[in-house]
Symmetry: C2
Subunit: 190 residues, 2 copies
DNA sequence: CTGATGTTAGTACCAACTACTAAATGAGGT
DNA sequence: ACCTCATTTAGTAGTTGGTACTAACATCAG
C-alpha cells in the first residue's frame, strides 16, 4: 500500500513543505498519491499557507537577514562607546557560532567581537589590526551573553594599544591586547 | 508635471524594483501615474520578470546562502592536511569580508582562517584555542587568495603549539602562534 | 499634415490558488 | 448486512497577478 493514513500524510506534509517551500499542491498530490483537494484540505487543517505565500515569506525573511548581515559589520552589538577611550559590546552565542558536538563557541567569534570592538573604538577613518596577544580562558557556550570591554591604553605614532576583556556573567572568558594601526583621511600607504 | 519621460521612468523603475522586489505592476503604475500596460511594456523592454518570479528568485537565492553559511564552519577551504603535523587552506576574500570603504579584509577573517585551520589539524575529538599571538603584516584585499599554512610544533600535556603563516602570492600577510587545548574522548573538564 | 514613438484599452488565457457544494468511498460498530 | 461518520474526490465560481496580443488614441517633430 503506497498510500498513508491521514495522520501520517499530514505529518509528512509538514516536513516536506518546511524542507522545500517551493512545492505546489499538484506536486504534493503526486507525491502522496492523493487528489489535489485532499492536499488542500490538509493545508487548511494544518494552517499551511499556499505556495506563493510561503515563497513570499521566505523571501521577506531572507531580505531581512541580508540587512542584519550587512549590519553585522561589527560582530556583537555596541552598547556603550566613548571614542578613543573605551567601548562595550554584547555578543550572544547562537547556533551558527558553535561546534555542533559540544556547543562551544568557535574561538574566532570571540576574537571577532574583540577585534571589531577595537576597530569601532578608534575614531579615525582607517583602523587596521596590527597584532594581538589573546587568551581564551573559559569556553563560551550556546546562549551565553558575552560582554566585551575594550580600553584604549595609548595612541601614539599611528599605533593604538588596546586591552580587551570579555566576560560571561562577570566571569572572564577571554582577554587580549591589540595593536591597531590607524591613519587620518588623506593618508595612505601599503 | 508629475509624470516622467520614458527614459527617466524606466531608470527609476529598475531602481524601485531592485530595492523592493515585492511591488506589483498595479502599485508601480500608481507610483508613476501611468497605466498598468505601460509598466508591463517597460518591464518587457527592460527584461524585468514579473512579481512572482522576482520573489521566487529572492527566496531561492537566500535559501542557497543559508546553506553556504552553515558550510562556513571552517573559514577557508582545506587543500592539504596531515593530521597532527601540518595543514594548508585557501581563503578567497569576498565582498562580505571587507570594509566597504577601502576593500581591506577585516582582520578577524584572517584570524578565523588560521584558527579553524588549527582546529582542523589536531586529530582529537576536542580542540579549543587557548591563546594566540598574531601579527597582521599586510592587508588582504577583495579578491585576494590567501593561502594559510599551519605547522604543529609540539603536542604535550593536552596543549599543542602551532605556528601559522598566511600568504598572498608568496608574500606574507599574517602570522601567528597558537596554543590549542585538546583532549581525548571520555575526558571533560570545565 | 504625416509618421514615428509612446501610451492606453481591451480581450483571451494562464498558474495556483480559495471557497464552496456535492457526490463517492471507506471502515467501523452493532 | 446495514447504517453512519470520516475521509476523499469532483466540480464550479471567483481571485491575484500576471502573459500575449490587437487596436485605438496621444503627442510631438519635421
Amino acid at each position: 500500500m503506497a498510500k498513508y493514513k491521514k495522520r501520517e500524510r499530514q505529518e509528512l506534509l509538514i516536513e516536506k513543505v518546511s524542507t522545500d517551500p517551493f512545492l505546489t499542491d499538484e506536486r504534493l498530490s503526486e507525491m502522496f498519491e492523493v487528489s489535489i483537494q485532499t492536499i488542500r484540505l490538509d493545508r487548511l487543517e494544518l494552517n499551511i499557507p499556499e505556495l506563493r505565500e510561503r515563497i513570499k515569506h521566505v523571501a521577506r525573511e531572507e531580505t531581512d537577514k541580508i540587512r542584519s548581515l550587512s549590519l553585522q559589520e561589527v560582530v556583537g552589538e555596541i552598547i556603550d562607546i566613548e571614542l578613543n577611550h573605551h567601548a562595550l559590546s554584547l555578543f550572544i552565542v547562537e547556533e551558527g557560532h558553535v561546534f555542533r558536538k559540544n556547543q562551544i563557541a568557535r574561538g574566532h567569534y570571540l576574537f571577532a567581537q574583540a577585534n571589531s570592538l577595537c576597530v569601532a573604538v578608534i575614531d579615525e577613518p582607517l583602523a587596521l589590526t596590527k597584532s594581538a596577544q589573546i587568551e581564551f580562558i573559559k569556553p563560551a557556550k550556546l546562549g551565553d551573553k558575552v560582554i566585551s570591554k575594550a580600553v584604549v591604553e595609548k595612541m601614539e605614532g599611528r599605533i593604538a594599544a588596546i586591552t580587551v576583556e570579555s566576560k560571561i556573567e562577570q566571569r572572564l572568558v577571554f582577554k587580549g591586547r591589540f595593536e591597531m594601526y590607524y591613519t587620518g583621511e588623506g593618508e595612505k600607504n601599503g
